[in-house]
């Protein structure tokens, strides 16, 4: 096959000592910026762009590819250890990952995230190598109606996060939906719930809400309870390695996460968050230990972490195959291509095959490097939790402030962080789960926009959601996700009380 020989050529480019150096620098920098909330890979590439002008194009892209993959790895580390997701794609990881960390299983959580990311990254890069063009053709079939159906499917996730009280779970969802409505309406340009504040026109940033509800809210709650009930945090309890049981429970979620993440990442409006939600709900439905979810189930870390890495590779598919940037980072990579006078698109594989195959090969190598970098470090990272609590929480709040401020260089956001933190505190005191709030906040606005676009295009005809087989199929799947557990419960209760 010509792809394979081209890929082998690519490896000879990527394995050149200088390029190996760039790849390792890229994954290192990527991991570092992933750890910091606020600065993402897009900004980093923007900053590096002028510096790389004199590079060989292949070296620059090998560097950028490493940064891109590394950032996803890094943000899971802080999500698990400090409950402070660096990017929104790691919000789901924080739920069970941090619970594991508190029980002294942080090293295992980091390991399953690292290995899962490696497995997913490698498989998804392989998929990118061989099926990108076909996949992109399919992705273009997604219009507003199909996206709306996908959002509905993803919203089913929240049913897995509701906790013990249904009313309070729904309260969290509606608070998230309400927060998501703040800002300028994309369709009409009208400001909703901004109360004349320009800072609110673009809405309340999801990273601010995630960091505020998780990190600040938790710090406030813990400090208020410190004197009465001191929850022990164990850095390490027992081995730092994954047990046979951990492996057994992780490998299927890794693979399923990959299968969910890659195609959704390849969708122009897919992103890396939705696959993590879908992976979480899938794992909860399939596991033999649903009672552990939310309290430190390893599947709930393995699946979403694989999914977000696979999605990141998926984003590269429309970029390389069509020149279509579908995330801020992809847009920066496109700008980088253009800096070298290269136009990604259908012809790229022919006109610049050496560059592309070199990039793909270095993505494989970057994945190996990330595993090598992260797996041994897992045991080291968890020692962060040995820092005395006052200093640990002091550090967390300093990082939260830093991340939120650097996001938009805005002091308003810092004040907002405190406000959202207080909301998180109140929710914890009232035993209201915070995760549904964030999921609803991310999905609500997207669902609204796609629904309204679909209905405007159809001039108000609601049949668009069923006349498209793709949309109807996804909606059917969502319904099945909702109803199947309900039916199972019903059958169980009938079996118990005949």
């Amino acid at each position: 096959m010509s792809s394979i020989s081209a890929l082998l050529d690519g490896f000879s480019v990527a394995l050149a000592p200088a390029n190996l150096l760039w790849a390792s620098l890229g994954v290192f920098m990527g991991t570092a910026i992933g750890v910091l909330p606020g600065i993402g890979p897009a900004l980093t590439i923007a900053l590096l762009l002028p510096a790389t002008f004199s590079f060989e194009p292949s070296s620059a892209f090998i560097l950028f590819g490493g940064i891109y993959y590394g950032a996803v790895y890094g943000s899971s580390t802080t999500a698990i250890l400090l409950n402070t997701p660096g990017e929104t794609a790691s919000v789901v990881t924080a739920i069970d990952g941090h619970a594991m960390a508190k029980q002294g299983r942080g090293a295992q959580a980091l390991a399953t995230a690292a290995i899962g990311s490696f497995v997913a990254g490698t498989l998804a890069t392989a998929a990118l190598t061989f099926v990108a063009p076909a996949l992109v053709t399919l992705a273009l079939k997604f219009g507003p109606a199909e996206y709306f159906a996908l959002m509905v499917l993803a919203l089913v996730t929240v049913t897995s996060l509701l906790g013990t009280s249904l009313p309070r779970g729904f309260a969290s969802i509606f608070l998230g939906l309400a927060l998501g409505l703040v800002g300028m309406d994309v369709q009409t340009g009208q400001a909703r719930f901004t109360f004349g504040q320009l800072e609110l026109l673009d809405g309340v940033g999801t990273v601010i809400i995630a960091v505020g509800l998780f990190a600040v809210g938790e710090a406030l709650y813990v400090v208020a309870r410190e004197r009465f009930h001191r929850e022990e945090i164990y850095a390490i309890k027992g081995s730092v390695w994954m047990s046979r049981e951990d492996w057994r429970r992780s490998w299927k979620p890794w693979l399923r996460g990959t299968v969910i993440g890659f195609p959704i990442g390849a969708l122009p409006a897919g992103g890396a968050e939705i696959p993590t939600f879908l992976s979480y709900v899938t794992e909860k439905r399939l596991t033999k230990h649903p009672e552990e979810f939310g309290k430190g189930a390893i599947e709930a870390v393995a699946g979403p972490e694989a999914a977000n890495n696979a999605a990141v590779a998926g984003v590269l598919a429309p970029l390389l195959a069509l020149g279509l940037p579908t995330s801020a980072t992809a847009a920066m990579m496109l700008a980088a291509f253009q800096q070298y006078g290269i136009q990604p698109g259908p012809l790229l594989f022919q006109t610049n095959s050496q560059l592309i195959w070199g990039l793909l090969a270095s993505l494989y190598i970057g994945n190996v490097m990330l595993l090598v970098l992260n797996l041994p470090l897992a045991g080291l990272w968890v020692r962060l939790l040995l820092i005395p609590r006052p200093w640990l929480y002091g550090g967390i709040l300093v990082f939260a402030t830093l991340g939120v401020y650097t996001l938009d260089n805005s002091l308003f956001d810092v004040a907002l962080l405190w406000g959202i933190g207080m909301l998180g505190l109140a929710m914890r005191m009232l035993d209201v789960p915070v995760a549904p709030c964030i999921v609803a906040l991310i999905l609500g606005p997207m669902a609204e926009q796609h629904l309204r676009r679909a209905l405007s295009i159809s001039q108000g005809d609601p049949l668009v959601f069923v006349s498209s087989p793709l949309a109807a199929g996804i909606l059917g799947l969502a319904l099945a996700f909702l109803l199947v557990p309900l039916l199972l419960k019903l059958r169980q209760s009938q079996a118990v009380s005949p």
Binding site: L198, T326, A328, P344, Q459
Partner: protein, 317 residues
């Protein structure tokens, strides 16, 4: 230690007096996220200024939000008298100020130079039955809502163009079926996928898809045909519509005359350098350089015409 510190301070002061501060350092406020049009303009300018040694230690500060009005407000207030500061701006901010009823307007900054611009095009997917802009306009006139326009956010240059087009075609501008997208290639994929009737965008974004045969350009918003772009102008087709998505730079409001002049000279040197021409070509931007005085006139005319279109499409009062 205090003495040494004082010496250092004195030395720093002396260096500061030796030449205008901006000759050493310049900060460029970009009122949008990294990667957007303003950001690319700033980074291209940064490259040229550094390469030609017109300024060193250039720092780009991204302050996104509110369609650029937040960056504008911050620049106008916190940098009011700082000689080494400029801000990138353009049509998008001209339009965002009235839409968002922003308290700080472009009156509070000083126009320094118009730099570049991009013309907008209408394009349809290759599978579309529409072959020409006449067919599109006929369909639009017959049933305005049957034409869905896939483009950028509400009030963007794309939206202004459709407003102008509706007026020229005699269709009520408020009735257009505008499908707003929030960038990131979303609008482009909706057009290629055939989910909207027609796409509107700067030519640069559509160019690769046109080259690959995925899109067909119906018309371009320039006065005359542009070399290298196979598309008629609206004017040729009897529609009196021209629009350019221009970008330029602004200076703080409180500069002394000589400080402002120094900045203007720096920009004048930069836009005449070969490095700048190269950057324009790379991004397929048009060279629309206007020095401060004519730019000021252009800006005030541009602002009133944009506000008028926004009123027509129902986005501003």
């Amino acid at each position: 230690m205090t003495i040494r510190r004082r010496v250092l301070l004195a030395a720093a002061f002396a260096v500061g007096l030796a030449g205008p501060a901006w000759a050493q350092s310049l900060d460029i406020t970009v009122p949008s996220n990294p990667g957007g049009g303003f950001d690319q303009t700033a980074r291209a300018l940064q490259g040229v200024l550094e390469k030609d040694k017109l300024a060193s230690r250039i720092q780009i500060i991204n302050t996104p939000g509110g369609g650029g009005t937040i960056g504008l407000a911050q620049f106008a207030t916190t940098k009011a008298k700082r000689a080494g500061s400029i801000m990138v701006g353009g049509l998008a901010i001209v339009s965002a100020v009235p839409i968002n009823k922003a308290p700080v307007t472009l009156d509070q900054v000083k126009p320094l130079a118009r730099l570049t611009g991009e013309y907008l095009v209408l394009a349809v997917p290759k599978s579309s039955p529409l072959q020409s802009v006449e067919e599109l306009i006929a369909k639009f006139k017959a049933d305005p809502r049957s034409v869905s326009w896939g483009a950028g956010s509400a009030g963007s240059a794309d939206h202004l163009l459709i407003g102008l087009l509706a007026q020229a075609a005699g269709v009520e501008p408020k009735g257009i079926n505008y499908i707003a997208h929030s960038g990131g290639g979303e609008a482009l994929s909706a057009v290629i996928g055939g989910h909207v009737t027609v796409g509107v965008s700067g030519y640069g974004e559509f160019e690769p898809q046109v080259a690959a045969g995925n899109l067909r350009v119906l018309a371009i918003s320039s006065e005359q045909r542009i070399a290298g772009i196979d598309a008629p102008t609206f004017k040729e087709k009897g529609l009196d519509v021209t629009l350019v998505n221009w970008r330029g730079i602004f200076a703080p409001p409180g500069l002394k005359d000589d400080e402002f002049k120094a900045l203007a000279e720096m920009v004048d040197k930069a836009v005449k350098s070969p490095a700048w021409k190269e950057a324009l070509q790379k991004h397929s931007w048009q060279d629309l350089y206007l020095p401060a005085a004519p730019f000021e006139t252009y800006l005030s005319r541009n602002r009133s015409s944009v506000t008028a279109v926004l009123k027509d499409i129902g986005l501003a009062q």
